[in-house]
Amino acid sequence: MFKHDPTTTSTVEIILDGQTIAVPGEMNVAAALLAIGKIISRISPTSEKPCSPHCLMGVCFECLMEIDGVRRQACMTPIRDGMVINRNLKDIQRGQS
């Protein structure tokens, strides 16, 4: 959905949903994932449908992801080498589990 010129930034390695993967550095987590085509940010706990970042400025909370153990706004979190990110795409966070 987005194109990114890989020569413009450094690269960092993160663990995304259990897989080690290289993403561009020097940007926020949401942007880094969009840059590699990962547009789904989470499954909505209420509609149970996939979400993608909407505002990229900290307002919509659609990019909430589990980042190093805590759910944070990906668009407000700078990407870092070694980050462990879980989007919990299969895990439906429904009350009645």
Binding site: K3, H4, A31, A35, H54, L56
Partner: protein, 479 residues
């Protein structure tokens, strides 16, 4: 890091940077807190690291951010990026979270410079992956050099929609259509503003050039569009709309929405600032005096958060607030404040000439928002427009009562995305004014934080007793 400042400024956009620089230049101890990790706010996002190419593309307006950042870096003001403010109290206390640690600090004065956000207008399908704010794509480009790779539809209203369209055209992004909800023929209200606007001809010239660029590109451009709808099952596959009697349908991977910008008012509402309703621009803004002082002595507002008037005006308002705070400290006398404020006020006035035209031209028309019953209004809690209408039909008359009954506005975004439309819908259902329907109450935390962070805070919790349910037994009833 200190725990007390003369002034804390919240937000590092044009208003915050200018206010912070000005105060520090007077020798005051200033801290700027900002949620992003780089200064500039939305308009000057990442300007300090921008490539020459990006500076070129974004134009002179963007380049101005460099001047502000240079002044700020020289001023000696302290800056803390990636600091998310989650509580502010009228007495001058601020709680923020940074790198997993929350702190509470204090200041004699606080200047809120939180800026604006895109007006969220729910349309069918707007929760689909691939529907984004036009401003979001603008930010991604400044921040991360990301550019849409698939086919895009831009829809909505306002100068920033056209600006983004022009930028994407220049970047050779495939645009299926531009769908403007703004009517084709300007209303009489618009024409009365034209004369005044001509005084700001540089601004107008830019607007004309932008529209010519769009026209030259051959991208289909429709005006007066209604019934916008994003299509798709698990992601956007297309966009549908009506233009007069014509049914429009485009294949697209992305739909970029923009319906103008509104003040980001949560922080003011959290504080309990008096809010006013702008009937023309249809948004709430905090009531302030000419220097930006709110109803709280220690709390000032500056920039688009106090009413949308653009980046230059934000800069001027930041300067004015800082001058008044400096006078409050007794660093300068009143006549010196006024002398310094003179040219700033003149510049502010000059900058405001074209605004009535732009505002009138793109004024949101509530009649054009259709709000179908099936459309999701509250994205966080998955509440539809119909759910809200239903509870209003059961006698609910207040926005907070709708929230209590339907969970609309109760999710992580705290009503940022549904609040404006919720007010429109409830007021329309009750046939009353938005002012009467009220505003969602905002309480801490402004942004969610893990329990461990607040538990670890260095504050004393004296005076808070856990509820003693045995209290019922502590005193004997006299009967």
């Amino acid at each position: 890091m200190s725990s007390h400042y003369d002034t804390i400024v919240i937000g590092a956009g044009p208003a915050g940077l200018t206010a912070g620089s000005c105060l520090a230049e007077f020798g005051l101890k200033v801290l700027i807190l900002d949620e992003q990790n780089r200064i500039g706010g939305q308009i000057y996002r990442n300007v300090e690291n921008a490539s020459e190419e990006n500076l070129q593309k974004m134009g002179e307006e963007y380049r101005r951010g460099l001047k502000l950042s240079e002044r700020f870096r020289k001023s000696g003001a302290e800056y803390l990026g990636n600091a998310s403010v989650w509580n502010v109290e009228p007495e001058g206390r601020v709680c923020y979270s940074k790198d997993g640690v929350s702190e509470r600090i204090t200041a004699n004065y606080i200047i809120l410079a939180t800026g604006a956000m895109e007006r969220p207008i729910p349309i069918p399908g707007w929760t689909l992956p691939g529907v984004m704010g036009a401003g979001a794509v603008n930010g991604l480009s400044k921040d991360a050099d990301l550019c849409p790779s698939g086919t895009v539809v831009l829809a909505g209203s306002g100068p920033l929609l056209l600006l983004e369209a022009a930028l994407l055209i220049e970047k050779k992004v495939k645009i299926a259509a531009i769908l403007e909800t703004t009517p084709k023929i300007p209303s009489p209200a618009v024409l009365t503003h034209v004369l005044k606007a001509l005084l700001g001809t540089a601004f107008l010239w830019k607007g004309v050039k932008m529209i010519l660029d769009i026209r030259k590109s051959g991208v289909p451009h429709y005006k007066g569009v209604t019934n916008l709808k994003a299509l798709g099952e698990t992601a956007v596959t297309g966009v549908e709309a009506d233009c007069g009697s014509k049914k429009l349908n485009f294949s697209a991977e992305m739909l970029l929405l923009h319906f103008g910008v509104i003040p980001d008012s949560h922080i003011y509402r959290l504080l309990g600032c008096h809010m006013k309703w702008d009937q023309n621009q249809r948004y709430w803004y905090p009531s302030t005096d000419e220097w930006g002082r709110t109803n709280f002595e220690k709390i000032f507002g500056a920039g688009d958060g106090t009413g949308v008037s653009g980046a230059l005006a934000a800069e001027f308002k930041g300067e004015l607030a800082a001058l008044e705070v400096t006078r409050c400290f007794g660093i300068i006398p009143e006549y010196e404040r006024d002398r310094l404020a003179g040219p700033v006020l003149d510049a502010l006035k000059k900058d405001s000439y074209p605004r009535p035209l732009v505002d009138a031209f793109f004024a949101p028309d509530p009649k054009r928002f259709t709000f179908d019953d099936a459309t999701v209004l509250c994205r966080c809690e998955n509440v539809t427009v119909g759910d809200v209408r239903n509870i209003v039909s059961q006698g609910v008359t207040d926005l907070n009562e709708v929230k209590a009954m339907k969970r609309c506005g109760m999710g992580p975004c705290q009503g940022r995305m549904c609040g404006p439309a919720l007010g429109e819908i409830v007021a329309a259902e009750l046939d009353t004014s938005i002012a009467r329907a009220g505003l969602l109450t905002i309480r801490p935390p402004l942004k969610q934080i893990p329990l461990q962070e607040i538990a670890a805070m260095d504050i004393v919790s004296d005076g808070v007793d856990p509820a003693n349910l045995f209290k019922n037994q502590s005193k004997k009833a006299d009967h």
